[in-house]
Symmetry: C2
Subunit: 565 residues, 2 copies
């Protein structure tokens, strides 16, 4: 029997939220328990790159990917605190991957492509960001992937355990410090190579995309532009409605199949009802094939929520193994399973058949392990408990989830209980902006691409319209077309301009008159090209390349030089 | 007998440089001692606002200025560390002065004028920044002067003594933290007043001007523009030649009188020669009227250097009391004294007559006190020993000073000895840019005015040409005109465009063909209007007002509103 996969993260944060809830008087209706702030905050898919996941070791990965992408692994001594001068703090070694084989060098002002490392091992991001590797020869560019502090091998205090010991050791795990690491590293590297005049272009996906956009805004003297893919930089405070994320997840399922959507929507009550029975937890353990007995219904709730959220993020049109091995258009597959069960199959059994596609597409597992994060103390939880407070809620009207408000009081308490730290929920917008984003940046800043796929639930917190001529939004096509051959209704276009319809687009009925066609997944554009790439993806990448070329041309014209390649 | 003024700052930093030098083998020539890295690094004039200076107390000042500028004094609880989450750190109360009497309020989106507090008590800056007060009624603006952390009353750890205790307590005295304080304060204030849509315009002079420019670059979502007056943001690393500062100081004297310049140039050898005699130090004490016996020639050297540097900074065309009570065109006055001594007056006696204008214009002091900073540990010294490393040297060819190189090794050692801290001389340019300034910002950023007076020695490190259409340089006129009526030579213009010549311009011969006419002093434009203001100053202020009006108009147009006043 194969080793069961560690599937969802069940962070201490959530456990403690639940614990707090148990201490509160339960409200009258059973289902109100679900309506409290109970859901694990959504994560970027990169959480699966953490060292405690049953994945390949760094060495194994390095061996594997070196067949594809070649690089040197180097280390750079970083200050733990760039913004203060506590010289009693230790330094730490930041890992970075570098490849100079295509670089045309300093004399030709060869560009430097820098990927802003996310919350995980950098090797994994290097492997999954084929675009940067594919563009390097074309642009004569150096490639560099610096790792984010406190992740992978780039941890202070000698070990991950020591670095994650408490709030004091974790205190320097912040985005501003991480961006400053990149700035210091690249400045030093350029100086050592006499490459001060070489333009740096930033890349990043997801949280890394936020870092890329923010770094371009904060360090324009260091990077001439940024491609920020699937970067939800507006998912803070009240900038976007807190329901956005789960509404998009839900729509992805609704677009695929209304009955699938309805089954999922019904399942929560069924779950709670089953869980409240005497042998309910044992029954649920059996229905969902857990290796150990389920201890709380909430754990199952989160296991399901996690599957749906990630499915929505990685709903790629071709088979992929970004987080789990999955078929192409996996939501279609999940819904096919849910919808096509023999008559008489219970709601919960249908749900199991569906999520089994996500958790066990290869069919190698006989049972599932819920608990894969015994300490619950990981980097992203810390970041979520300090700066990265992204309010999330669910609406019963517009989503397939039970209603749940974002309860900041609980959030704060749980962060205190988990880490002894107080979140600063307004800090990110103070430091990086977000409110009235377009007014601030319309006449300030330049050269940022915000790329989003509208099927990606994170796109709800992304920049979905052009800010200015050079701070632009590339959104995978979203087209309303008239249904039922009623040409009198005409065709309404969503910004950005209409692209021609492609076979890979998911059609879904909006109302009886219009049909919404959307596509795109979580930073799909950054992945390596494949033979299965739909045309819209090829077009999106072509737009990105053209914009980056433009930045470089402008820079070289400024520097009175010519494009090196 | 009046209490002698505490005249120059003689920081521990310098003392320790000298101490280090004494431990090194002396070089063969006596004057080589002078040629070493011996000079106190120049300071912004604001050092005279420190609490250990014999000035008015805050209360006295407040009483005095309240007759002129009315404001409320308030306090805001700040995080000591915005970029990390060490929750065991204390918070501190940041003082700010606020006036809303002319503000047209949030409904009309009344602007907020924020002066970025420098390295000293904020009350003093409020008193000396008349422009902001004068503009407030015209723009219907709120005025706010937040104090810089670790200065005045805005100190952590309960008291100045505790805050300045050691490197650990001082570690959060950095520019980035100070700017973040302003950002957090104004964001909070706007929220409390429902004034989120009200545009913020930044002002700052000298170091405060650097903060204003940097804050506009880093927080464009918080401030729509910045007037950065006399802000030497390029005085770092090798961006400008390290001799620039002292060359400009020297030129100010040379422009006034070649013989004055030459006398000063000769005086250093005379000083050293006198000081090396048996009773030399006693003789010098007598010549220069010190209250206590001079202990080192270097102390006198710094006392003189300080006078010349500050005279160059505040060479205002009218009597002023910015740092010391001084006549109008004080360098002219100093040189008149130096040049017009009876024949037979020694070089050093002439020098005394000259600097006596600076240190004792009111004639109330019978002797001078050298040591006014017994601990040598003040905020600016810390800042200079951490981030604000501004290399300075003197050239024997182009200045009136003996040659002296910037010796970073000594600098670093002295910082270690003084504070147990290691400077990061490349950090400011990494964090804020500076190298290739124009290329970085030509297509990034907007709405910054860099105002400089070319007689101000800090202008050498300032932005002296337009970066883009909206990042502009306002430089007091600098015009080369042909001498000796040789019209065939034509007239060469310095950027910015030629203004018409004014009577207040100081003419000086550059070579036999050209004459350079320059004017302007250290952030003169920010001072209150006076009847004596020369036309070029009126024109500079008018340009500033027009630009600020333009920023506001653009903003209101964006917000589909009209200018409130």
């Amino acid at each position: 029997m194969a080793r069961p996969p560690s599937t969802t993260t069940k962070p201490l944060l959530l456990s403690l939220i639940l614990l707090s809830l148990l201490l509160l008087p339960l409200s009258s209706s059973q289902s109100s328990h679900f309506r409290s702030s109970k859901r694990t905050p959504p994560r970027f898919p990169t959480r699966f790159s953490r060292p405690n996941k049953p994945q390949l070791t760094t060495k194994q990965r390095t061996q594997q990917q070196q067949q594809e992408y070649r690089y040197e692994t180097r280390y750079f001594e970083q200050s733990l605190d760039h913004f203060s001068f506590s010289d009693d703090l230790p330094t730490f070694r930041q890992r970075y991957l570098i490849n100079t084989e295509h670089w045309v060098g300093p004399n030709l002002m060869g560009p430097i492509f820098l990927y802003c490392g996310n919350e995980g091992e950098i090797v994994w991001f290097a492997e999954n960001t084929g675009l940067v590797w594919e563009l390097a020869p074309r642009f004569g560019a150096m490639v560099i992937f610096p790792e984010h502090r406190y992740y992978g091998e780039s941890v202070p205090y000698g070990s991950l355990d020591e670095a994650y010991k408490n709030a004091t050791t974790l205190s320097h795990l912040t985005t501003e410090q991480a961006i400053a690491d990149f700035a210091v590293l690249i400045t030093n590297l350029k100086q050592n190579l006499s490459a001060q005049a070489c333009p740096v272009v930033l890349f990043g996906g997801s949280y890394g995309g936020m870092l890329a956009a923010w770094m371009r805004l904060k360090y324009p003297h260091i990077a001439i532009g940024a491609l920020a893919s699937s970067a939800p930089i507006l998912q803070f405070e009240d900038i976007v409605p807190p329901e956005t994320f789960y509404d998009i997840v839900s729509n992805s399922f609704r677009h695929e199949s209304t009955s699938c959507f309805n089954t999922i929507k019904e399942s929560w009550d069924a779950l709670e009802s089953e869980g409240s029975k005497n042998d309910g937890l044992m029954q649920l353990t059996k229905t969902f094939h857990f290796c150990q007995k389920l201890e709380r219904v909430d754990d199952l709730y989160n296991w399901l929520d996690s599957a749906y959220s990630y499915l929505a993020m990685v709903n790629y049109p071709y088979p992929a193994n970004f987080m789990m091995p999955l078929p192409g258009n996996p939501i279609k597959e999940v819904c096919r399973k849910i919808d096509n069960c023999p008559e008489g199959t219970s709601v919960l059994e249908r749900i199991f058949e569906g999520v089994n596609v996500y958790y066990n597409y290869t069919g190698e597992y006989d049972c599932f392990q819920l608990d894969d994060d015994p300490h619950g103390l990981d980097g992203w939880n810390w970041q979520a408990c300090t700066e990265m407070v992204m309010p999330m809620s669910t609406s019963q009207d517009t989503s397939m989830y039970p209603a749940s408000d974002f309860n900041y009081t609980y959030y704060k308490e749980d962060c205190w209980n988990s880490f002894r730290v107080k979140p600063r929920p307004k800090w990110i917008t103070t430091e990086f902006g977000g409110h009235d984003f377009k007014t601030s940046l319309k006449m300030f800043g330049s050269n940022i691409i915000f790329a989003n796929g509208l099927l990606d639930p994170w796109s709800g917190g992304g920049v979905l319209e052009d800010v200015s001529e050079s701070i632009v939004s590339l959104v995978t096509e979203k087209v309303f077309i008239a249904l039922k051959a009623r040409p009198s209704l005409g065709v309404a276009f969503y910004s950005p301009p209409l692209l021609r319809l492609k076979e890979s687009i998911v059609p879904a009925e909006i109302d009886s008159n219009f049909c919404l066609l959307i596509s795109g997944a979580h930073h799909l554009d950054l992945r390596a090209a494949t033979a299965e790439d739909p045309d819209w993806l090829l077009e999106q990448r072509a737009s990105e390349i053209k914009l980056i070329e433009g930045w470089l041309h402008d820079y070289y014209r400024e520097k009175k030089a010519v494009l090196a390649s």
